[in-house]
Every structure is written in structure tokens, then in C-alpha cells.
């Protein structure tokens, strides 16, 4: 039973495992609309954008872990400059 259960669990979670969070260097866009779409496609649903130290901080929920994440975006280039867990 146990291997079967593990297989079922693995298959259930497989779609989530395929979604990786944005990585540093990924370009997600220089507008809230573009970044919201790009982050959501990467598995992180955006709740808000805020300015922080010359960067845009996107707060989003990681679909795989349900954890709130902070994604830092350079507003000039649209590139991700940092990914942090909001704890």
C-alpha cells in the first residue's frame, strides 16, 4: 500500500513541482501588468507591488508551498534581482 500511496502523492503533486519560482535574472517586465502575468505563470500569484530601495517588491504566494514570497524587480530592466521568503 505504501509504495502505491507514494506514487499517488507524487502524481498529485507533479504539476506543482513543475512550477518553479522566478529566479534572479529572469525578466518579468517593467509594468505591473506584465510582472503580474509573468510571476503568475511562474507559479506565484501576486498580491501587491511596493517600492523598496529603488526596487519593486512584489508580494506573491507560491502555489507549490502556499508561502508568501517577496520578489524584487529592477523597475528599469524588469529583471528579478532577488527572491526571498516573507517570514
Amino acid at each position: 500500500m505504501k509504495p502505491l500511496f507514494a506514487l499517488a502523492l507524487g502524481l498529485t503533486l507533479a504539476p506543482f513541482a513543475a512550477m518553479a519560482l522566478p529566479a534572479v535574472g529572469d525578466v518579468v517586465g517593467t509594468t505591473p501588468e506584465a510582472a503580474t502575468a509573468a510571476l503568475e505563470a511562474a507559479g506565484c500569484k501576486v498580491a501587491s507591488f511596493e517600492p523598496e530601495d529603488g526596487q519593486i517588491e512584489a508580494k506573491c504566494t507560491d502555489a507549490a508551498t502556499s508561502k508568501m514570497m517577496e520578489i524584487y524587480i529592477d523597475p528599469k530592466t524588469g529583471a528579478v534581482t532577488g527572491v526571498k521568503s516573507d517570514d
Partner: protein, 220 residues
């Protein structure tokens, strides 16, 4: 140095004397006390780190600290530093006498309370100065940026600039670390302070909170 480190003589009473006087805290001292308490708790529990409100409260905290430090030189006797010099040994003796149920009264901070006050001020100084050094924008500028980003306009942030890398500079990292440690430490000290007030008020049956809340003449 005397046990109280006190420049005051009136109001000091023998150990355990029930009729001794409680400190008379003046309005400015009470304002700075509760103001700092509000700023620290507000920035811990309510505001978002780096937000305009967080920055503004930090500046208010620094202002209140500066006011209290000036008051330590020019204020009434019980508010002056000369009335409660830092004396760790006297603080320990005070705690020991409190454990025996014989803690004396002081017209200003008792020696343990004095050590706590200096520790809290040192912590607040580190907290506010590191906060200001970390902040790239004034509270007003930060509020403008927040409003622009909330409205979907990122161009203001591009113009404002920044280091381009989130927390990459070693100096910035160190400041943030020190700020966080000082923030946790000041909360721990505040808890100890409240516990100390509660214990002494209960053990010695003296209400140490009332003098910090209302002027003496309004109290019974």
C-alpha cells in the same frame, strides 16, 4: 557612588517603609516614555519594514529620545541623569532586596530601573540610527513612491534609483542585521522592564505604573 547614584536626598526612605513617596514623573518625561513605547510597538507589530509610516515612526522615536536625553540635563531633579547614574552593582543589590521583599523607594528610577532605562535608550539609538542609514528616502518621498506604485506607475522608482541589487552591499546587509538585532533586543528589554515593574509593584505593594500614567495631584 551611592546605592541610588542619587543627587536627590528628599524622598529616599529606609528599606521597606510603606509610606515612602513614589517618583513624580513630569509631563514631558511621561510623553517621551509612552511615545517611545508606542513607536517601538507600532513599528514592531503594525507597520511594514521600510514603509513610509515605519520610517516616520523611527524619526519620531529618535526625536523623543533626543528630547529625553536633553531633559536628562535640564529637566526636573527626578528626570536628570544625576539622579540615576548607571550602577550595575546597585542594580543587583536592588534586585536582591526586592527578592527579600525589602526594596527601598527612590524618588527617581531605582538602580535596576536606571540600568534598564540606559539599556533601552542605547538600543533605541542603535535602532533609529541604523534605520535612518538604511533608508534611501524620507518618509514623505517614500509615501509618494508608495502611492505611485500602488497606482501602477513604476517610473517614479526608476527615477528615484537605488543600488540596483536587493541588499547586495555588505554595508547594507550589516546595517540590516544590526537593526534587526537591536529591534529584538529592545522588545526583550521592554518585556523585562514591564515584568520588573509588575514584580516590584506586587511584592512591595506600590503602584509604579500610576506615576507614569497620571500627574501626582490627580492620583489618590
Amino acid at each position: 557612588m551611592t546605592e541610588s547614584g542619587s543627587g536627590l536626598s528628599a524622598g529616599l526612605s529606609p528599606k521597606g517603609q510603606a509610606t515612602a513617596t513614589l517618583p513624580r514623573w513630569d509631563p514631558l518625561l511621561r510623553l517621551t516614555h509612552w511615545g517611545v513605547a508606542g513607536v517601538v510597538l507600532g513599528n514592531y507589530a503594525l507597520t511594514k519594514e521600510g514603509s513610509s509610516v515605519h520610517i516616520a515612526l523611527g524619526w519620531i522615536g529618535l526625536g523623543l529620545l533626543a528630547l529625553r536625553l536633553i531633559w536628562g540635563f535640564v529637566g526636573p531633579a527626578e528626570a536628570r541623569f544625576a539622579s540615576f547614574s548607571p550602577n550595575p552593582m546597585a542594580a543587583l543589590r536592588h534586585l536582591a532586596s526586592l527578592a527579600r521583599g525589602q526594596a527601598p523607594h527612590y524618588p527617581s528610577h531605582n538602580p535596576a530601573g536606571a540600568m534598564m532605562a540606559y539599556a533601552l535608550w542605547a538600543c533605541l539609538a542603535v535602532l533609529t540610527v541604523t534605520g535612518i542609514l538604511m533608508t534611501g528616502a524620507s518618509p514623505m518621498k517614500q509615501a509618494e513612491l508608495e502611492a505611485a506604485v500602488a497606482a501602477g506607475d513604476w517610473s517614479a522608482v526608476v527615477e528615484e534609483g537605488g543600488d540596483g541589487e536587493e541588499n547586495e552591499s555588505p554595508g547594507g546587509e550589516a546595517l540590516e542585521e544590526v537593526h534587526e538585532v537591536a529591534a529584538n533586543l529592545i522588545l526583550l528589554l521592554a518585556l523585562l522592564h514591564v515584568a520588573g515593574v509588575a514584580v516590584e509593584s506586587r511584592v512591595m505593594r506600590r503602584n509604579l505604573v500610576a506615576p507614569m500614567l497620571v500627574p501626582r495631584r490627580r492620583r489618590r
